[in-house]
Amino acid sequence: MFSSISVAIPRGKTGYLVVLFSLFLLASTLVSLSMGYMDIPILDILKIILGKTLTAAGDASSMTETFETVLFDIRLPRILTCAAVGAALAVSGVLFQGILLNPLADPYTLGVSAGAAFGASIAILFNLSAALVSVPVFAFAGACATLFFVLFLSYSPDGPAGGLSSNNLILSGIIVAAILSAGISFLKFLADEQVSVIIFWLMGSFASRTWPQFLLVSVFLSLGFCVSVFFARDLNLISMGDRSAISLGVDLKKVTLILLITGSMLAAVSVAISGIIGFVGLLVPHMMRFLTGPDNRKLLPVSMLAGATLLLWADTITRAVLPHEIPIGVLTALIGGPVFCWIFKKSRM
């Protein structure tokens, strides 16, 4: 689709790209760690990290102790969670665009976000137990239920490849998402004063994320990434159309199902942890395709790193640069939308 933009970097340099993006992500993490309400010089951060790993003791001045608390209990879990969610959304976006043969698909095409939002709204509305635990659980359950309903809806046993055709999937996703959006509006209508809680949750945030949440996302991310890379070559063929894929030896039904579930689980856990964050899953695979070409074996690792870096910077801006923290979902849409318009327009000329 966006083939008319010339590729600046010759293909086959994916190794360099991965190293480059990894270093950039590492540097971004350090810079982001130093930024915030309390300025912590990068040198001190390095000292603290090195001190922690090399020696148990060291000079335990009260200043370093405060720094340590801020770094390890507040900033690092938030930054890492955010990076992991960005990575998960980008990988999920690559999978969906490949399976649905559509460079404009994103992790939410199958209605996963609407399902998660519906689940979260119910949990908030009925004030189910300690909200902090139950909202993500409900969001995740909502996302999974939506995914399986969409799969059920688009499945037709007569069709080739078990009938999981991209058109059926996209249509079913849109229908289910539309119904769920109406449901969410109804829940908001019922919610009275709690409506602001629902709205705020839906707009997404990484504020006060903790280590367990990071662990959860990173487990999903590692598993999801391994599965995706394992089937990356099959995904290339799938993105050429179903007859091509089958005649070249891809077990289309099996691989499509595995990758759809993988992509949706990545999206579901991301939404459950951080609310709905748009445009990362759409934009990152798109932009990285200019660098790597459409080969998913190259696109997946590069997109993962770029997604992590992009969302990390978006979160750093709202956390440490802007005078007030604005919801990250709003920020990514406000920045991502115009960027997408620009790329789209430029590629048409």
């Binding site: 460079p103 080739p160 394992f230 050429m240 007859r243 005649s247 070249l248 030896g249 070409g293």
Partner: protein, 258 residues
Amino acid sequence: MDISMDHIHFFHGETSILEDVTCRFAPGKFYAVLGPNGSGKTTLLDLICGFRRPKTGRILLGDMPVNTFSRRKMAQTISLVSQSYEVNFPFLVKEVVMMGRHPHVDRFSRPSQDDRKLAARVMEMTGISHLAHRHITELSGGEKQRCVFARALCQDTPVMLLDEAFSNMDIHHSLYLLGLVKTAVLKQHKTVIAVLHDINLAAGFSHEMLFLKQGRITAMGDTQKVLTQKNIETVFNVTSKVEYNDYVQALQVYFKPL
């Protein structure tokens, strides 16, 4: 490899697409499948390569039923040049051709020297070497078809199915690639089953013809024997004259304007 279809029925919802189709395809022969739009030609190929499964009936490849083949084994046996080749992602032409090696190269292995040589050779054979570094999305319809054709050749299978594989190609490339396929049939004993719309091209290259009408086989056999005015009239509902043409060195059909 012998292919045999035994009393095949296929339905699309309630509509019957193929009815009681029984036929055999032998190695070392070029088969042309002819018939009007919607007569079930593409479905016939889809059934042979396992893209669709018949409602009833049995399809054997060699002496094994089609459904006992793994997808990979199937792709090592049968290649398909399909009618639809629209691609949304800007793969390079050489990447597309190399995809033909997918069933032969293990997951996580790189293509070997031989794989790369084969890909280069088929690109030269199909006249797309100069397009190797272009994006497939930028090519014209005929160039894309040659690219997909090269991919099927790169798959290097004993059976090739061609579904209107020449519909967008100019006459030079059509004749050239048909000649290439015919040589492969004669020298390497491949089985080629081609759905063709151009009856005269089919007459020039095929050993046997199979006429389909409304999902039934109306005639099948040696091209010399079944390419008759009567069969063309029954299947296509047009009047024509069939005669041997010295210049083409094959039967040719002349149609009366309706």
